[in-house]
Symmetry: C2
Subunit: 224 residues, 2 copies
């Protein structure tokens, strides 16, 4: 069995790595596991403490879920990103629950919550790094909230299509209306209606393959 | 002129107070001012760094504002609460803007952002305290978001009325429908319609004085 070389990865990912003791580094590594998640698999489920997640490859989607099963995407995590909200046992001031799914096949390193917390408690730099990571997620969530509450749907959809296109480096957004609606915290009907309008304006072409961007300039003006 | 005794107040409010040097304490106190705000007065306005606010008495309302002027309450601060989101220069990871108004006549101590940051940079305990304060506001905001996105209006209004009643220790919620709607991030029409329904069910009585709670048990069942 090949031993996973956590150390070389943590060295890059954690700005505090060289400032903690050899024993602390060892403690974190020996309480780490590598996990592979299939696309669509649930990784973290509400209030349990799944530990600190470091994304190696793929994409994780962090979302809220209501009792009725409605969900809304808060943000996504890509290679190199750390998730601290999955380790609610580490930060006591986080009193809410999030859910995390693998949006693509993803490889992650998981550090156990208690092990991370032990080192964090004796080391203010780790604690500050963890809290700063959480606060920057706060900023992400505020942005989502702004979008949902205040922006008109045409603007939000234009931004979503442009973002998704640049992220996947493709003119075609290979998602169903249902999926787009879920990402945007909206309803399928609303997305379909708006896409029909976008198509009628020549901004996009809607087909079974997904949504093809035809007029980026037009979408960008809408997104302003 | 009577010198404000910041020190005796900060000693109670800040858990780190006894762990910083005499010179640091002096630096914070000499960069503090006492300010009185009238009910309705704007205290903090978007991205400027107003400094760290410690509420002595009264009530501050922290909210988001859209371009079109629509606003939504994120949380309120009462006596003893500290506001760090008004000092965006202190926490670099906060990239969003909030607005703060005095909801009642309020007395506050303001510590200048640069002064607080200077002491915070050399002192991990202050930094951790500031970040933890921000993260607990994150928890508040997530709760608001859950309410807005997922809960049905009858449930939200029932919770609001019960909370407000217990906070003010009164059966009468002396707010207009317009004000209630603003607090809840809803529209006046929606609140009026729902209150009419609540009145028809005998839960409340609506008059010019405000909303009187008649059937707490009924409201509590709705709020479940």
């Amino acid at each position: 069995m090949v031993q996973t070389d956590f150390e070389s990865v943590y060295k890059e990912a954690f700005p505090f790595w060289n400032e903690i003791t050899e024993a602390e580094r060892e403690h974190i590594c020996s309480n780490s596991v590598e996990k592979i998640f299939q696309k669509g698999e649930n990784i973290h489920d509400s209030s349990e403490c799944s530990g600190v997640i470091l994304v190696r490859s793929g994409c994780l989607r962090v979302y809220m879920l209501s009792e009725s099963g409605k969900d809304i995407t808060l943000y996504r995590l890509y290679s190199g990103d750390m998730c601290i909200l999955s380790a609610s046992c580490v930060l006591k001031t986080i009193t809410f629950d999030v859910f995390i799914d693998a949006e693509e096949d993803s490889s992650c390193y998981l550090i156990s919550g208690p092990a991370f917390m032990k080192v964090s408690e004796s080391n203010p730099k780790i604690k500050i790094f963890s809290l700063e990571t959480a606060v920057s997620r706060f900023s992400d969530v505020m942005w989502v909230m702004q979008q949902i509450l205040f922006m008109s749907m045409d603007k939000r959809l234009a931004i979503f299509l442009l973002d998704e296109s640049s992220r996947t480096n493709s003119d075609i957004i290979a998602l169903t209306h249902e999926q787009i609606a879920r990402y945007m915290g909206s309803a399928r009907e609303v997305v379909s209606r708006m896409l029909k309008y976008f198509a009628s304006e020549g901004f996009v072409e809607v087909s079974r393959k997904g949504v093809k961007l035809l007029d980026r300039k037009g979408l960008r003006e809408l997104a302003l």
